[in-house]
Each structure stands twice: as C-alpha cells, then as structure tokens.
Symmetry: C2
Subunit: 367 residues, 2 copies
Amino acid sequence: MAETQNRIAQTDLAPTVISIDAMGGDSGIKAVIGGMEKSARAHEGLRFIVHGDEAEIRRCLKRRPDLAALTEIVHTTEVISMDDKPSAALRRGKESSMWLTISSVKNGAAQAAVSCGNTGALMAMSTVQLRKTPGVARPAIAILWPSTNKQGYNILLDAGADIKADPQDLLKYAIMGASYARNGLGLRQPRVGLLNVGTEEFKGRVELQDAAKLIGTIATSSDFQFVGFVEGSDVPSNRVDIIVTDGFTGNIALKTAEGTARQVSDLLKAAFTHTLLSRLGALFALTSLRRLKNRIDPRKVNGGVFLGLNGTVVKSHGGADATGVAAAIGLAYNLAQNDFAEKLSARVAAGLAASKDVLSNMDEVSP
Amino acid sequence: MAETQNRIAQTDLAPTVISIDAMGGDSGIKAVIGGMEKSARAHEGLRFIVHGDEAEIRRCLKRRPDLAALTEIVHTTEVISMDDKPSAALRRGKESSMWLTISSVKNGAAQAAVSCGNTGALMAMSTVQLRKTPGVARPAIAILWPSTNKQGYNILLDAGADIKADPQDLLKYAIMGASYARNGLGLRQPRVGLLNVGTEEFKGRVELQDAAKLIGTIATSSDFQFVGFVEGSDVPSNRVDIIVTDGFTGNIALKTAEGTARQVSDLLKAAFTHTLLSRLGALFALTSLRRLKNRIDPRKVNGGVFLGLNGTVVKSHGGADATGVAAAIGLAYNLAQNDFAEKLSARVAAGLAASKDVLSNMDEVSP
C-alpha cells in the first residue's frame, strides 16, 4: 500500500539524533543498518549519525534511500574488538567508531549513543568523554529484566559496570534507577528493592544495612517507594520495579538467570521432540509457544543503559540482529526525547541534598 | 506381591543410623515419617533415631510396623521455629528436637543428621556441638544444582552459610566440594570452577585472584581439576562439576535461578492453557512434559550438606514432602556409608599442607 518513500514517515517535529556505532558488534554493519531502518519506521523524527566504514555503510544504504536521507556518515575503519582491554582501547582508540560515536553526543550533535561493541571499552570511553554526573562516583549499567509486572520488565542495576559499590553508590543507583523507570518505563512511583540474601541466619552485609538506611531516608522526597530488601527470587517478580545491587552480584544474577532460562528451554525442546505424539502436541500448541517465545524474546529487551554520565549511552548486545539493534535505538530515542540525562542529574543532586544529614552521620561512624 | 513385612528389606549389614529431626519443617511430622519409610525401602541397613513429640510419632508409626522396628524415638516437644534467630535458638533450644538430633551424631549414636528446620539455627547448633573440621574457619552449605552434566547435578557452595569468604575459605570450599563430589556423586576427578563476573572489563575482585592462585596450586595433589573462573551462565553447564563462591553470591544465584525457573514454568503453563488447541497440544505432549518435570523435580535433589564440621548434617527444604525428605535421608545415608566426614577432614588437612608455601607468601603480601 505505502510507497517506499512513505515507509519512513516525514515529520515536522524537531529531529531526535542518535549517534550509532556501526562497527564492533558480532553481526556486522548490516545488522546495525537494518536496526536503524526498523527503528526509523517506529519513531517519528529520528535521525542518525553513523560511524564506521563509509563504503560499506553506503552499500547497505543503497537500497534504503529513505534511511539514507536521515543518515549522516562519519567515516572510520578503526574498530574496538570484543577482546580489547578498556585501558588499551582508551590509549589507542581515539579514531575508532566507538570513540567517535560518543564524541557526537559530547559535542551536542546527537542526543544519545548506541553501540553493540565491547562493554568495558564503551563504559571507559563514555566516562572519559561525557564525564560522570556530579555526585556519582560509580556509573552503573541498568538492564531490563522480564518480569510479571504490568510493564513487563523490572530494572536491575548495576549489571556489571563496577565490581564494587559502597552504601553511597547504592543510594545513587536507587535514585538513578527510579529516574530511569520514570523516563524509560513511565512509572510514576517506582518501587525500589535492595538485593540481599535470605532472612534466616544472615541479614546481609553491613554496607547493605547502611544503604537501606540511606535509601529509606530519601525515598519519599525522591518520588519512589522503598520496599526494603529483596531476594534473588524477587528479581523477576511484581514485588518490585527496580533491583539495586553491586555490579559483581548483579552480573552473576543476570548470567545465572540466562543460564537457567536456556537450560529450561533446552529441556523443553528435548521433551517436545522426544516422541511423535509430543511433536504433534508441539505443533498444536505452536501459536501459544510462539507467543511465549515472543514474550521472553531477549532481542526485544535489548539495551543496557549507562547511568551516571552527562549523556545517554545505550549498550546493545554484541550479537544483536536488526530487531535487537532497533530495540536499543528505540530505548535511546525514548530517553533522548525525555531529556533523560538532565533529569537524572537533577534527581541525583536533589537526592544527595535530602540524604545529607544521614550521610554526615554515617561518615562519622564509618570513615 | 510382597507382604507388608517384606517391603523394608531385612539385612545382616551393619546398620547405618540416621538421626532425624521430626519437627520444625513446614509439612509436619507426617511428611518426615513418610520420608523415612520411603528411604528405608530404598537403602539397606537404614536405622533411625527420631526426635520429636513421641505421641504424634507413634501415631504415624502405628500403620508402619516395619518402620517402627527400625526406629528409636527420643521424646521432646520443644521446637525451633523458622523465625527463631540462631542466637536465640542456641540460648533457649537445648531441649529442642533440632539440638537433640545433632547430639545423636555428636555422641556417636548416629552417623548423620537430617532436619527440615531453620537453616541458620541448624548451622549454629551443628557448629557448636560438632565443632569445625580442623583448618576450616567457615563451614559451608553445599547444594545440588540440576545440570547438563552426566551425573545430572553440579555442586554449588557456599549456598548461604556465611555472607563472607576470604581466599583461604574459598580454597577450603574447593577441597570440601571435591570431597563431596567424590563421595556423594561418585566423581573421581571432579572439575572445580570459581564463580566470577564476565571477562570484559573486570577480572573480578582481588580476593578471587588470590583464591584462584591457591586452588590452582593444590588441585593436582588434591585429585581435582581446576577449570579457573566460571560465570553465572556456567553454573548449570557441563563445563564444571563444582562451583565455588561466597555464601552471599551463592545464595543470590540460587534464588535468582529458582525465580527464573518458576517464571518460565508459569509462562509455559499460561501458554498451554491459552487456547483449546494449545490445551490439546499439552495433552498430546503430556508424557514428555511429565518426564521433563521429573527431570527437574526439586524434591529429588533435596538436601543441602553442611561441610566443614566433624559430622554429617543434611538440611532438607523446609517445605519438603515425603519424597523430598526421602531424598535428604538418602543423601545422608550415602555420605554416612562412605565415612564422608572423616575423609573430608583428611582432605582438608592434606590440601592445607600442600598450599602451605603459597599461603605463607600470601600472608606476607596481604596480612
């Protein structure tokens, strides 16, 4: 029905420019360009600055004149690989597509950045160029976790930006997570929980007690609800919207859940191909099983957001296909539209002011 | 076919006596007695000392004369509840079924103990009465984790006995886990992995580097293979047989996996009841689905073993039914038959001797 030109809608809206790293992902430039096209169809006013090998990008854009019209290309052939150490990437990567992608946000040409590349290098380059939000010592990676909540996802942070977090870091994770939930998931009064172990013998580490005190103090003035400690089993539940933890624990929880989901799905596949009758059963249930697969499709929840920087950076999964890249770009678009980085910064400042008294007492007790 | 008397086999073998806490579980004395009966049928030469309300136990044993003949009852009505703090349980619980259950192991009347009660209290009472194995500062809880390995399970420890573990504790967890794998799962050269975060930016905490060095030093002489760091996604995999971590991380991983498995299973149930056709599909696949359910039935892998004490204590899940209790008793029986506590103690001593040089260097570096 629609002509080629109309597949990407024209608009009078002020454009939202997303800076894209076309290189460094496992699926190549084609998947990135495919994702850009998908997301441009879904979001009005989207424009791109794409960084990478110009000849190859032009080849991919050749049959996509609509997308080409929305896209500015910045040429480079330098790539940060998945194996590069962050320190080495910082030293030698100033001409890389990843570095330049973040530069476009830094210099104001774009409102957010998306990369499928090496997480550690991306965090290091983002921190160096965009700098930390005032008051934030440890930026965090916030991920979306499929949940039984109405919004379909919970937010977990830190998913692995830093292996440590003290009570003040955890306080800021709570503030930043709540800000993300408001701007990314549209939750007005998100519920924040602090990840801890079972309540039997142990009431958790001392720093978690301190963090709970801090977060409880500022919850009301920061427009979120603090539900206290939550356990691992609560992460995908509807008891909570945001799960706060250090990056070591968060990363272990995330990967353990991924491993478990894969294991159950493998066993299920085996069960359904075991006999002719079970194959027939699977055939009958195909639509419902597809709906389930769709519901927990990791490609549709793709995108870890870096929180605590003066600018929005979204890390897409390294192996993301066009659907996955489109999800990450969509996330960046939504956050850019909401002036997320500015709002987050204001929230952190207000939260720190509100926790000042408790913080100064805490410093006296545990210097 | 078999008469009632023959359902539990008579034997000339030296009996293996298991001390049972009949109280404190969520499913009551009946589930415990049911579990004893199931396990007595499965394991030759099993005898019981059961601690709890004698009148109620006698009622449960009335229709089970075979089991009654194998069972000695020690009367008490004192119960440790799930909400009791370990410290309070220790102070006031010296007449409780839990305390007395461990006493039977301490005084040599039984070779192992099983309780469905409060984990923290059970660990505290076990430590006070049985005392720690020489060289072990922090006893650990080892659990069985369904895996794609030939043996069907991996071992993870510590699942939550202590929220902290230094490199030397992790070294002993590796030694104890390997000993458990040999005696509990029959693995001659088990593979040990140390749980850590992704390999990109972070190579994990400093104490994990130290622990890896220590474990690597003694692996060969301790008859296990050290595969180095593993990630959360490896926990249910066949890359490794034993996953070593601190009790905080282990508990979070365990509960996150439980939450994820429950979530996937709920979604699956919903998918299969969504339409008439999908219901029909489920019906066709019923046998295969039952096989799957059987494969990952948590009742059949019930039992956390306390490692690092002079005696074997198995913690059954609080909500275990007769099948679950029987699994925990079976585990205790196998370990008792293998003189597990003695072997573990010898392994720890040998491992410490082998790591002496590295340990003394480490003490100099980080006192």
